[in-house]
Amino acid sequence: MELADIPAILILVGIVAYAILAGADFGAPIWAVTARGEESNRLSESGHRSMAPVWEANHVWLIFVLVICWTAYPEVFGSIFSTLWIPLILACLGIIMRAVGYVAGGVSMSRAFTILAAVASLLVPFALGTVIGAIVDGRVPPGNAQGDIITAWLAPVPIAIGLILVASSAYLAAVYLAADADRRGEDDLASAFRTRGLVAGVIAGLLAAIGLIVLEKNVSAEFFDGLTSGLGLVAVIVSGVAGMLTLIMLWTRRFREARFMAAAAVAAVVAGWGIAQQPEMLPGLTIEQAAASDEVIIGLLVAVVIGLAILIPSLYLLYSLVLGGRFDPLSVPAADAAGVEEPLGPASRRALGFVLGAAGIGGLMLFVSDSGVTLYLGLALFLAGTAGGVVLLARSLVRTPPV
């Protein structure tokens, strides 16, 4: 693997994270429209409650993908965004409309807001799917708006991928919301989402099968071979199997496991795309040609490593609070309120001392040295200390009983 490939892998990781985390954002309002009256309100309220604390963070993954792309492959970014500006702006408008729903608060949402959010929820995954489809189908030539701004994305492959993303978002949302409702003890809601998830899962599976046929008929032989041989084939099979398993788990009401399996199915198919898309990112432009200089990529990787050292514990904290039910309404007693351990016991206090010490010494080394081993050692110590601090804070928060 070359240095130039690493940012591409980060982009794929970002896309997977965005798809499995924010994908559920865009599925939730679709389900609210499928019921009427009181049930619709309950579905949309349940979706709002699950998503509201996490949706902003979920959206940052999209920005992460964009930033890595324009820093590491500036020309690819400029080409994609100029030729595919229409679906990209549509996606963005959809994201804004979806946010209007969150801003409005979810509770006692009027039907108009529900429909607005549902339209946005269809629009965003579809539009972003067509962007991926246009790249897969080789419809984005390098250069400033060198592709056709309409037919580049309104073509069989982009449309097929757009539809698959809509279906899988709806599916992911149903699976996640069923798990959340189950955790909160709302069995009827869990059942409602389970049924919807089963329907959406079957539709998503069928669309994926049709999508493969569309791909075979349209994309370059090189891409299709990449997807149907070697590692690409492994990824596709893994995705298919994981998708099947999710349905079985949903059927048997093992919602938590279904959630992770659904995420795995999405991750596998994105990995397959990454494998098949090599070596050309855009027609006539390989990763090596498109990549920025080594110095830029190394700088970017340093930034990403620093960022991830802080981000991962923070995300862990957020999701452990959310999935642990700590943000659920207070009338629902937290399942594990009894028997939690002391938030900052002696062991934790000692750990806190270590962490602060490491960060302090590291910071001092950073401050006094401007090159060589001491600088890097200082940086490493400082980051480790900071990350450790966040972990400790996270642990103590998760373990404190609700007031």
Binding site: L66, F81, W85, I89, A145, S293, G307, L397
Partner: protein, 502 residues
């Protein structure tokens, strides 16, 4: 092909030393411009595969970008400044045990997350627009400044994660820990704005790369972004602006309640704390603004000349207030104050200030737009500083609030006024940078997309933004109308007063 500045014929009217001054900050750009002449249109395309494309709607593209900034920047102010006010209130409540501080923090935290949500999506749009509207810029320079956005992305992550934790964990964790979860929000607000400003500072004062054969090479991203003299004045200027905007807007809302007779502990505190913050930041901003303007004078003399509408290079240049810059390069109806411009720009009444005449008219921004917005910003900023002096004088002399209703009326106007000054300031620096997207290196028309139909995107965006604005205001009103907890209601002289508080 747009006419480009060539080193030989660019500044015929310049004396040798002035010529050096004009080119000093852009040493490489002389080399660049030589190469433009050699490489024709394709000066900035990596490998010449990203040529500039004709775009009839360049102005519309710029306006779409401008409108998106105008939506986003006031929200950024709330992202930077509001969390620390909220957390300060909660800390006061914890320290004193008085319920109204905590009640304020609770209510404000709902406002905070609503505005943050709007900030997230308007910010997402901006990052899309960088590519959709300015692909030439991104293709040529994305690698030079991308690092800062990468770091900003992580700041944004931290802010989004902890703002959620803060807002959703009221009553779920102990108050001390709750305050701790707010600290990362404040820190990420600082770092996030620093990284974005680093990119803007770089666009105004580019460095950290070479241009060889029309290609941007030898990129040193850290040097480009963080070894830049424009970063610190710009960041400080923006940071103070955020506190001024947020402080005066919130104080203005409660000043309205004050005028309506709601003057209990809750309303009084909710007005005085943001007001005090804004009143400390406003006078300081005059000094910081002076620092920022001197950096411009140093590195972007033509931009300074367009702030002032100064045509001729002048020794002991006067400052002209009001008026209109005309075709024949004079200012009509202006009031001239002798030597003030030299004094302000170089802290020397007889310093020479470079005029617009030293570069071709193609290299000028729209003088009247820049000049008017600069004067708006300075005028409002001065007014806010005077209002602050009024408040601080009364407060420190008599330990009480001014009695006259005119003070509260002035505070109500100060909020929107501060927003206007903020936007005028950004118009000054962004339009003042024109016709360059990367000052002295890449022109805006080389950056713009070649795609058709951008105007339709502009219209659709406008419609969606109207819905967003409407919803945000509706939600804020709804938050304002939520009834108070009983102990706060009892504190207020008129217990029913739970209206119009924001």
């Amino acid at each position: 092909m747009p006419p480009v500045l060539r080193p030989g014929d660019a500044c015929p009217a310049l004396r040798r030393d002035q010529q050096r001054q004009y080119h000093r900050r852009a040493e490489y750009s002389v080399g660049v411009l030589d190469l433009i002449a050699a490489a024709g249109d394709f000066a900035f395309g990596p490998g010449n595969s990203f040529p500039a494309v004709d775009q009839d709607y360049l102005l519309e593209a710029r306006q779409m970008q401008a409108m998106s900034f105008v939506m986003h920047i006031p929200l950024v102010c709330f992202g930077i400044a509001f969390p620390s006010l909220v957390i300060f209130m909660e800390w006061l409540g914890l320290k004193t045990g008085k319920a109204h501080y905590t009640a304020i923090a609770r209510r404000w935290s709902k406002v905070m997350i609503t505005l943050f949500a709007a900030g997230v999506v308007t910010g997402t749009l901006l990052s899309f627009e960088l590519g959709v509207l300015w692909p030439g810029f991104m293709a040529a320079f994305g690698d030079v400044f991308g690092l800062a956005f990468g770091l900003e992305g992580f700041s944004f992550f931290i802010e989004a994660i902890f703002i959620s934790i803060y807002v959703y964990s009221w009553d779920r964790i102990s108050p001390k820990r709750h305050i701790l979860t707010g600290i990362p929000v404040i820190a990420a607000g600082i770092t996030g704005s620093m990284f974005v400003i680093a990119v803007n500072a770089w666009m105004n004062n580019p460095s950290g790369f070479d241009v060889v054969n029309g290609e941007v090479t030898n990129v040193k991203p850290f040097e480009a972004l963080f070894a830049n003299g424009h970063l610190w004045p710009q960041l400080t200027h923006m940071y103070l602006a955020a506190y001024i905007v947020v402080g005066f807007i919130i104080a203005g809302i409660y000043a309205f309640a004050w005028m309506k007779g709601r003057r209990g502990a809750y309303f009084r505190t909710a007005m005085v704390v943001p007001l005090a913050v804004a009143c400390i930041a406003s006078p300081a901003q005059l000094l910081i603004g002076d620092w920022a303007a001197r950096t411009v004078a140093e590195d972007q003399p033509i931009k300074l000349a367009s702030f002032e509408g100064l045509y001729e290079t002048t020794e002991g240049a006067p400052e002209t207030i009001f008026g209109w810059y005309t075709e024949d390069n004079t200012i009509e109806y202006g009031i001239e104050i002798p030597k003030l411009l030299s004094l302000l720009s170089y802290h020397d009444p007889n310093a020479t200030v470079q005029g617009l005449e030293t570069v071709p008219e193609d290299d000028w921004p729209n003088i009247n737009v820049v000049r008017l917005s600069f004067q708006t910003m300075v005028g409002i900023g001065t007014g806010l500083a005077m209002l602050s002096a009024w408040f601080l004088w009364i407060w420190f002399r008599r330990r009480k609030l001014p009695e006259t209703k005119w003070f509260y009326r002035a505070v109500m106007v100060a909020g929107p006024g501060a927003v206007v000054a903020l936007i005028a300031g950004w118009v000054t620096t962004e339009v003042g940078r024109q016709p360059w997207v990367v000052y002295g290196v890449m022109r805006t028309e080389q950056a713009v997309t070649g795609a058709d139909g951008i105007v339709f995107g502009f219209a659709a965006l406008l419609a969606v933004y109207l819905v967003l604005i409407g919803t945000v205001f509706w939600v804020l009103r709804r938050i304002a109308r939520q009834p108070f907890p009983p102990e706060i209601a009892a504190l207020e002289e008129r217990g029913e007063g739970d209206h119009g508080t924001g």
